[in-house]
């Protein structure tokens, strides 16, 4: 099948089906509602299930239930909805169930607005819910990448028995771009007989599986947290993804930016290059695990006088950039978080202000 023109939200829905996920629970919220709209047609065509929950809280636990039964399952929402799901995400991580969550971010806090934002970085990477858990978080910068990350997310969730989040800003959901769904990213659900409550008859076993997040024995709870910690450390070793842009030039400023914001930065970097000003960029594709070494090495280049975290938030990822730069150069933030996306011209002016 060749390329077709899709809205990001439609491509996310289609990619999940192509990835073999036939269970979708959701509650509508702008700017993500087209995923539900699209899957309301498509799930019935492919024999899958779409159930609209009565709230995002309910949806979170529908996901937990289906994942605990060993089914491939996912949901999509936007910022306030993900806040409501965060309790269930904590339970799902604690019970080690694989599931995929998509957050098409809008401006916050509170009800905020419906325009694009990246202000849920902390919520996604540091845990919106309680307890010591992490999600593997991927951040697409195009509709094509959103489709591919969705297709990758299901096997990754199963590899780690852990929730995976695709974190896109509103533009990712709303913009239209050509997209195709790579055959090589299709995957079969893994065998979950070892742990899932998928029925003793179904797995021809006399052993009862138990999916739970309650560990009243402090030793057992600590053991469970150590198991989770080891998984997160393994993610750091095996799952870091990033794109380096103009990184072989003699740049004085390093930009760190992700999602659609990074595409604005690319245009700015190209425009600056025409004026003889070199700027490099690291674009994290995984926000957890964060590309720590890539940022450190890029900021350690001797000509680099500053790392600039550019994000549609009031400065969240900048804390990870500071952590990774290890004082090799000063770190600054630039961004907006009302729904207005900074323009290439603004980025050019910010870069120049630090060079003058």
């Amino acid at each position: 099948m060749g390329k077709i023109l899709m809205k990001g939200n439609e491509a996310i829905g289609e990619a999940a089906i192509r990835a073999g996920c036939l269970n979708y629970f959701a509650y509508p919220i702008t700017p993500q509602s087209e995923v539900a709209e699209y899957l309301s047609h498509r799930m019935s065509e492919v024999g899958g299930l779409f159930l609209q929950g009565e709230s995002e809280v309910a949806v979170g636990y529908m996901i937990f239930g289906a994942a605990g039964c060993g089914e491939r399952v996912f949901t999509t929402s936007s910022s306030p909805g993900v806040s409501l799901m965060s309790e269930a995400i904590s339970y799902i991580a604690a019970a080690q169930c694989p599931a995929v969550f998509v957050n098409i971010m809008r401006g916050g806090p509170g009800l905020g607005g419906i325009l694009p934002s990246q202000a849920d970085y902390f919520q996604a990477t540091k845990g919106g819910g309680h307890g010591d858990y992490r999600m593997l978080v991927m951040a697409p910068a195009s509709v094509q990448e959103a489709a591919e990350m969705i297709m990758m997310a299901f096997p990754l969730a199963e590899k780690y028995r852990n929730p995976v989040m695709i974190l896109g800003d509103g533009l990712i959901g709303q913009m239209m771009e050509p997209v195709e769904f790579p055959e090589h990213l299709k995957s079969e659900p893994t065998n979950k007989d070892e742990w899932a409550t998928n029925g003793m008859d179904a797995r021809k076993s006399s052993r009862r599986n138990l999916v739970k997040s309650l560990f009243l024995d402090p030793v057992k709870l600590n053991e469970n947290n150590l198991i989770l910690k080891e998984k997160y450390e393994r993610m750091k070793r095996e799952e870091i993804r990033y794109e380096a842009y103009n990184i072989n030039s003699d740049y004085n400023i390093l930009i760190v930016s992700y999602g659609t914001m990074s595409r604005v930065c690319k245009t700015a970097i190209d425009n600056l290059k025409e004026e003889g000003i070199e700027v490099g960029m690291i674009r994290p594709q995984t926000l957890f695990p964060f590309p720590e070494n890539a940022v450190f090495e890029a900021a350690s280049k001797k000509e680099c006088i500053m790392a600039l975290s550019i994000e549609m938030s009031m400065g969240q990822m900048v804390e990870d950039v500071e952590r990774c730069v290890h004082g090799k150069c000063p770190v600054r933030w630039y961004g907006k978080c009302g729904g207005e996306v900074p323009t290439p011209e603004e980025i050019v002016d910010v870069v120049k202000s630090y060079l003058s």
């Binding site: 390329k3 023109l5 419906i114 325009l115 709303q174």
Partner: protein, 230 residues
Amino acid sequence: MNISLDGIVVVVGNYGSGKTEISINLAANRKHAGIDVSIADLDLVNPYFRTREARKQLSELGIGVILPPDRYLHADLPILTPAVAGLIRKPSTLAILDVGGDKVGANVLAALADALDGKAYRMLQVINPFRPFTDTLKGCMKIKGEIEKASGMSINGIIGNANLIDDTNAGMIYDGYDFVTMVSKDSGLPLEFITVPAWLYDEIDMNRFLCPLLVLQRQLVPPWKKAAVL
């Protein structure tokens, strides 16, 4: 062959078929031809990339732009300003109604039924065969039926808008033309015009087409690109 549309023109189609891009460019095209043009943004279902994004350029051209009040411009609320009914009752030489996608978007037309009652109109369905659900005749007719049912109005023409945005090539324009020609013949709906992006125009063999062509100066661009001059 020039586009000769006037009167009330209602632009409908499935989500993302290109209704707004076409409405804006059609307004500019007809204004440049010297006629009096107004455009109303009736897209109550799409939160981003609406006619309102191009209002500055349209206003500067002297095109009347009817939008919800400023304070609601970024709300996802179904606000239908009374000025739309006013435009239908006293239309400019060409009055373009840019309607939201699918049957959901077309619901708004039912709310304008009183104003539209007895008025002659052209209701044109935009078709991009590179979009899901409209890559077959059956798919196009299903969307047509749903929009007609929701709006209580009849589609009486089609617009071919074959494109993959920046990945569009001449072959796609020709294939798209053949597709909408087939849809036109089968359905009996006249093919009003097809579109081609301005940057591709020089590569297109115009002799292949038996309908007018609207050259699109792209307006609905992401923040890292610049809208073309209308």
